[in-house]
Subunit: 210 residues, 2 copies
DNA sequence: CTTACTTCGTGACTTATTTCACGAAGGCGG
DNA sequence: CCGCCTTCGTGAAATAAGTCACGAAGTAAG
């Protein structure tokens, strides 16, 4: 076990894949899995799988691999999947409403608890138990049960302002769909979903490869 | 200029950011920019900016930085942004329809030319000039103007099958929203948009930092 | 209990990426 | 034309990430 060593940033994302796979295996009735097999499922080498897991503990047994029930419990713990994480969403347009309609998040331990927009046509709309609120009221988040995770799905021009407000209301993690590099203080983490950039990676590849 | 050296994978994504920023600057009437400034906008070091650009050419001028018009033209060329890239979309659900409604792609040089679904309620629906077709007819893509880029926005269980079909119809790049690791032959590139994994990175961070 | 086989955990090594830091230009004021 | 300032391009150094390969530990069969 390697409690001390630096953990590569991408290792956490891979942990997420491992967890997903072993949950699938568990559903299929499997109860053990080897690093080789897990590697095949996730398109990684067996060594990568073992090393990633070893950053967090000794989950395996020489000769017989990993017990699924145990590994699952450990990975869930590491990834913070004990509780239901509340999320605040800002921008209920194309993307925002797609997220609100997606039932998968609840099963994954995430729930969009609040959603905000500026558009009076959006405000008041109900999605399941949630009603879209006016973004002007967002600071009411500040007082109570404050979500630490936010999703920004507003137009590019509004994104930085929204981020600033979210940071003030104590959000620590932002998933940003707007095509902007957000400026946030230390201690706040931003991850970008940047579809144009993804596509440009493709057009780059395609233009070069012939 | 460094035509020979291996280019870090992430450099291409950063090029995309640089291009976006200088286009913004151009709109603001600016005509030159330095690596330092570009670094500030993109949250990178000046050295990183210069090194990334230097993989592709000598775009700058000592003492006065980069001329925006020139750099923009070069980056657009590198990223393959001369033509309009046709895209095929499979799965017109929450995500798929959000993509179809997004006008931004056209401005970026990408256009969803075909969209497929299995659901008869989706088939036949019109989005602008596009009409959703039956996924059973997807191989008709095979003959003609075949898109090289595809987006998969179907449920997890269907994703691998769809990927196999797309690969057969000569798609070379797949943007995958389904939470699965797709198996594709060499020469085909997959990039995943994996929202659960993104959120699990957050829950990991939040559970550890206190 | 012993042998043969499997599979983990990990230090050492390799490869990839980023950062540093400096020489060489280019611009500008005098 | 000269010094001074700015900013590039880039090898060299540093850091980060991934792969290798092997000892140790487990399993299973006879
Ligand atoms: N839809 C896509 O496929 C797609 C693709 C790539 C990038 N994006 C990016 O994702 C973001 C959202 O895209 P979209 O298609 O959902 O946009 P959209 O225009 O459909 O929705 C944006 C929503 O944000 C709301 N809004 C605007 N300013 C606001 C503010 N200050 N506070 C709160 N709400 C505000 C608008 O009323 C609207 O409902 C954009 O930045 C877009 O560039 C979207
Ligand atoms: N919506 C979200 O916010 C969200 C979040 C995370 C992940 N995802 C993932 O993105 C994917 C799409 O999500 P969604 O919410 O849009 O799902 P959705 O159920 O709304 O839409 C899926 C669409 O795919 C169609 N489909 C099913 N099988 C098909 C097939 N074989 N060929 C063609 N079409 C087929 C369905 O008819 C449906 O229209 C899923 O894999 C989901 O797990 C979505």
């Amino acid at each position: 076990m390697n409690e001390k060593k630096r953990i590569p940033k991408s290792a956490v994302s891979r942990l997420s894949l491992y967890l997903r796979e072993i949950q699938r295996l568990e559903k299929d009735g499997r109860d053990r899995v080897s690093s080789t097999e897990l590697g095949e499922f996730t398109d990684l080498t067996d060594a990568q799988v073992r090393k990633d897991l070893s950053y967090f503990g000794n989950f395996g047994t020489s000769g017989s691999g990993y017990e699924i029930a145990t590994l699952k419990a450990s990975l869930r713990k590491i990834l913070g999947k004990g509780a239901m994480w509340p999320i605040v969403l800002v921008g209920v347009g194309n993307i925002g409403s797609a997220l609100l309609r997606y039932p998968g998040f609840k099963h994954e331990g995430f729930v969009i608890k609040e959603a905000y927009d500026v558009d009076r046509n959006k405000i008041g709309v109900r999605y399941d138990e949630l009603v879209v609120k006016d973004v002007a009221d967002i600071n009411k988040n500040e007082k109570g049960k404050a979500a630490k995770i936010a999703i920004i799905a507003v137009p590019e021009k509004a994104a930085q302002d929204v981020a600033d407000i979210l940071v003030k209301s104590n959000v620590k993690c932002i998933l940003n769909f707007a095509p902007v590099v957000l400026k946030v203080p230390e201690g706040v983490t931003v991850r970008n979903i940047d579809l144009s950039t993804e596509l440009e990676n493709f057009s780059f590849l395609l233009s070069f490869s012939k």
